[in-house]
């Protein structure tokens, strides 16, 4: 029962994270390159017009959306077997270097905070924690 509740929690958080990342991707696509908008929200315009908003031309937020989609896909039915849980845990561990790098860039390199980016980072870390808890509870 607890595993099922945790799985639903992971799925719900992944869905929220997907929504946030999708919104940031849409905002990034709409943000014209070539100048910095002063009418953006909080520090997001500063971050989304930086060179770090895209990796090889791909919006960083889109990569985050992909990560959340895979989490959602793995979370649904994760209680069915250990293999799925291993994949979920392994995929969630990617949150550590990903969030670490993006948070460093946001806070130290750019020196701005985008609440939407930060909330996606927090969601990623919470998903990782829940995945670890599920792994530890797997034989209970």
């Amino acid at each position: 029962m607890q595993q099922r509740a945790l799985a639903w929690a992971v799925a719900a958080l992944a869905l929220i994270g997907l929504g946030v990342s999708a919104f940031l991707t849409w905002y990034d696509i709409l943000t014209p390159r070539g100048f910095c908008s002063l009418t953006g929200f909080f520090g997001c315009s500063e971050i989304l017009t930086s060179q770090y908003s895209r990796i090889g031309g791909v919006p960083t937020a889109f990569l985050g959306a992909l990560w959340f989609i895979v989490v959602l896909w793995l979370a649904i039915g994760v209680t069915r077997g250990e293999a799925r849980l291993i994949y979920l845990l392994g995929w969630s561990l990617l949150a550590i270097p990903g969030v670490g790098a993006l948070a460093y860039i946001e806070l130290v390199v750019i020196g701005a905070i985008c609440p939407f980016c930060t909330s996606a980072h927090v969601l990623g870390l919470v998903i990782l924690v829940l995945a670890v808890i599920m792994w530890r509870n797997r034989n209970h």
Binding site: P32, G34, C36, L38, Q51, A112
Partner: protein, 202 residues
């Protein structure tokens, strides 16, 4: 063990049903297509042209008086735009944190090196958006070795007066103080700004 329970056991080991594998494959294909799309260059019809906005019959550029910033910070001096009447002015509205402003600094440096000797004034107005301070502007000056005059608009009023909503925004101001042309961001290439300055200064 029955064949049905064998099948269930196998699925438990693998963890994915056929339907879930198909969904996973769809996710992968969509992801690859999206990444491919993002990495393709934009079509010519969406490329912005490098044109500015020519103002005809425009009155004198709104005057302002703002504190001067150097690489050491605020100097205590104040400068008015009207003090440059009789000279061509390249007026730039910028933000120290703006990556485009940073990227364009070397180009402006080259432009300044060419036109400063021809009595053209380069004046940059640093703004307060995203909590940018005069010290941030000073750091920008140090980091990019800019030699032209910087002032700091602590309230953003001058930005508002000029209708600036993005940085960098450039105004070419004629000797009589009227706004000749306005450019935003990378639309202001070296060649375009140089051509405008040469025309106004002739």
């Amino acid at each position: 063990m029955s064949s049905h329970s064998k099948s269930n056991s196998k699925q438990r080991k693998k963890g994915f049903s056929r339907g879930e594998k198909i969904i996973g494959l769809v996710i992968l294909v969509v992801a690859i297509w999206a990444v491919y799309s993002f990495t393709q260059p934009p079509s010519p019809s969406t490329t912005t042209t490098s044109t500015g906005t020519t103002a005809t019959g425009v009155p004198v550029a709104p005057d302002f008086t703002l504190p001067v910033v150097t690489q050491d910070g605020l100097t205590g001096q104040r400068i008015s735009l009207s003090s440059f009447r009789g000279k061509v002015v390249l007026l730039e509205f910028m933000e120290p944190w703006c990556s485009v402003c940073q990227d364009m600094a070397p180009m402006l440096d080259r432009l300044y090196a060419q036109y400063e000797a021809q009595n053209v004034v380069f004046l940059a107005v640093a703004g307060p958006y995203n909590s940018a301070t005069a010290d941030d502007a000073a750091k920008f000056i140090r980091d990019y070795g800019t030699a032209w005059t910087f002032v700091y608009d602590s309230s953003g009023t001058t930005f508002t007066t000029y209708g600036v909503s993005a940085t960098p925004t450039f105004f070419l101001i004629a000797k009589n103080g009227s706004i000749d042309t306005r450019y935003e961001g990378t639309n202001a290439t070296f060649e375009i700004l140089a051509a405008g300055l040469t025309r106004l200064n002739s």
